[in-house]
Amino acid sequence: MNADLVIILTAILVSTASALVGSFLVLRRMALLSDAISHAVLPGIVLAYWLSGGERATVPALLGAAAAGLVTVVLVEWLTRTGKVKNDAAIGIVFPALFSLGVLAVSLFFRNVHLDMDAVLYGEIAYAPFNTLNLWGREVPESWLVMGSLTLLNLLFVLLFYKELKLSTFDPGLAAALGLAPGALHYGLMTLVSFTSVGAFQSVGAILIVAFLIIPPATAYLLTRRLPVMIALAVGVGVVSSLAGYALAIWLDASIAGMMATVAGLCFTLAFLFSPVEGYLTARLRRERQRLEVAARLLVAHLAHHDQPVPEGEVLEEFGWNPRFLKQVREKARQAGWLEVVREGLRPTARGLAMSSALLEPDP
């Protein structure tokens, strides 16, 4: 089987599965809780690895990681509820401790075996083609099987509970009042995040999962205000950054997962700058255009009060503008056909007069 195909499809599955649950994490302001979970699955994986006698088995690892993820969520919530520690500090306390346990166990017991620190950090998506399973007489990459089922599971969860998820995300109070059990939904989502984290752990490592869980949905969040569109865009951004990241990583001979996260970060930057909804540069451009438009209307309305053309110097004095701005405003008004430049100064056209009277005396 083609090695590139295996890696690319694995990456696509990882980013799809992550984007599906990640969208809700971003909307529910639990992005950093998922960061904590993805760190904390490490001790769960190590424990499962140890209990299963040093063999890497997928099912115990999934269960161990899900347990570790839920322990993280419960610990953070408990710490917050005691009132001794604020929520953000609780997250920052729990996951380093659990992650430290995991790292320590790896360096003490599993040094130089399958589960080494490089795998924890960078993942080993490059080895995905070598781990295959025999399924009904055909060799299937294990990563396809694991990530495929996780993607399916996440998709089913989102489709089946779409209404409930949407309501409890945007109005938890109403969801609870309608009897939708937001608590159960919350823990269900957390379980899926843990599952996805451990499934993706083998491919992209413990820390970079967050890049797949958060960056594509956050990018999509900047691009739209509709939930279904956001989820679809998040999946799209994830897939695009996987493909581009893979190509870059091969070209530069660098970590595949690291490059994918880098490209996702670039996508986010582009969305932040150029998003049609509220991108930084688009918003500035729009504001600038509106400023000119208002100034041009103001100028024409001012000219309409004079019988003679008004010299530019007088306009500058009247409005306190600088000459460059006046030039911009004049061009804007001229393009709109509101004024014309004559030898004595500026004079409104018939259209300009009509506009200004409409501006000053709006129809009843």
Binding site: I93, P96, L121, A211, A218, A254, G258, M259, T262, A264
Partner: protein, 412 residues
């Protein structure tokens, strides 16, 4: 490998100075128990002394700046700063080609500062929630760092070995010049905190008031964040980028449990940080291949757990004890009130009490026994009656429970 050499050198010198040589260890858990002779090495052994001084400096600086971060609810900004340092370290190496720690630390600090600035920019100019903005910057910077790190490793540069020590820290590589660097970086940070202490205090507790007094709130915020970057730079070599956040958050959270005063909290936070730093670094320096970061963080977590449970006044154990005591008191008082009602009707027996409280007769008997041991009821031919103290107490309770003062009917 620099670290291996350093540890071996430290070990080999020990017997020459008259200390007993520790026998070769086989069990993996054994290095966690330091022997007395190993503890004494802190003061005499060159490597260990540097390690201890470096980690103590980290603990102090991290503790002091973490106190402000935790109070201002910016704990996780520290996490972002630390993770974001990785690409800076790698870029500094690629650009300069040296592995001089100060150069790499400066690169890391600059990258962390840039990430913090980007988080602020995203928050100011978009409606993205704060946690997502932090998560995005953290993971994209770290991902870029990982990509750069592997790029350097695969480019077969012979001098690259050891860059990955910045991920989880390797205290054994700390030498005297590093300690000097830490002292300068940390000293600057502490000095600035000392100079602007009053302003930072106001900023942490009442930023709106600080603003109304005409303080440059945004500038002071930037200054505090920059000082956090200095703290992260001190910690990169010891704890590493992934776990550095814990050294900013946990000492301050632990110190908060012991006191309500900022001065005391900062002092305790620095002390806890230093304790955790030194003990974690020393444990890791005694054995090869033990990353320091996890050990420092686990030491800090232990201190935090003790503080959470046993700190005077705020400790959870005392909370639980108080709750238990209150529950018991309330239960007994309600029991007395029930008994008082029945007593007023002249029929206080285990049977009537059981009926009123909807509980088995055996439980009612136990309850009456509890009331009698308090001296509130006594036995009587027709069952039980309230003692004068019991009546007095019940009366007081009834008065206290009344919402409207109908004093006339209260006494029975």
């Amino acid at each position: 490998m620099q670290c291996t050499k350093a540890v071996r050198a430290g070990r080999a010198r020990a017997p020459a100075r008259g200390h007993e040589q520790t026998p070769r260890r086989s069990h993996p858990l054994e290095p966690f128990f330091l022997t007395m002779s190993e503890l004494l090495l802190i003061f005499t052994d060159y490597t260990l002394r540097n390690v201890a001084l470096g980690s103590a400096m980290l603990g102090v600086v991290g503790g002091v700046l973490g106190a402000f971060a935790v109070l201002r609810r910016q704990s996780l900004l520290g996490d972002v700063l630390a993770h974001a340092a990785l690409p800076g370290i790698c870029l500094a190496f690629i650009l300069t080609g040296t592995k001089a720690p100060l150069v790499l630390l400066l690169g890391g600090g600059l990258a962390g500062w840039l990430a913090a600035w980007l988080v602020l920019a995203v928050l100011r100019h978009s409606r993205l929630p704060e946690d997502s903005a932090l998560g995005v910057m953290l993971s994209s910077f770290f991902g870029f760092g990982v990509a750069l790190l592997t790029f350097i490793q695969h480019s077969n540069n012979a001098s690259q070995a050891g860059l990955d020590q910045y991920i989880f820290g390797q205290a054994a590589t700390i030498v005297a010049s590093d300690v000097r660097n830490f002292m300068v970086l940390g000293g600057v940070a502490l000095l600035v905190v000392g100079l602007f202490y009053k302003e930072f205090k106001l900023l942490s507790f009442d930023p709106a008031y600080a603003h109304s007094l005409g303080l440059p709130v945004r500038g002071l915020n930037t200054l505090l964040t920059s000082l956090m970057v200095l703290a992260v730079m001190v910690g990169l070599q010891t704890v590493g980028v992934v776990l550095m956040a814990a050294m900013l958050i946990a000492p301050a959270a632990a110190a908060r449990q012991w006191t309500n005063r900022l001065e005391a909290m900062i002092g305790l936070s620095a002390l806890f940080g230093a304790m955790a730093g030194v003990s974690g670094a020393l444990i890791s320096a005694t054995r090869e291949n033990l990353p320091t970061g996890p050990l420092v963080v686990l030491s800090m977590s232990a201190i935090l757990l003790v503080s959470l449970f046993f700190a005077p006044l705020r400790g959870l154990v005392w909370d639980w004890a108080r709750t238990r005591q209150n529950r018991r008191r309330v239960r007994l008082e309600r029991l007395l009130l029930d008994a008082h009602v029945l007593h007023a009707h002249g029929t206080l027996t285990p049977q009537t009490l059981a009926e009123r409280r909807r509980e088995p007769v055996a439980v009612a008997l136990q309850n009456l026994e509890a009331l009698r041991s308090l001296g509130w009821v006594q036995e009587h031919p027709q069952g039980f009656i309230l003692t004068p103290t019991g009546e007095q107490k019940a009366h007081e309770l009834e008065q206290a429970m009344r919402v409207l003062p109908h004093r006339v009917e209260g006494s029975s």
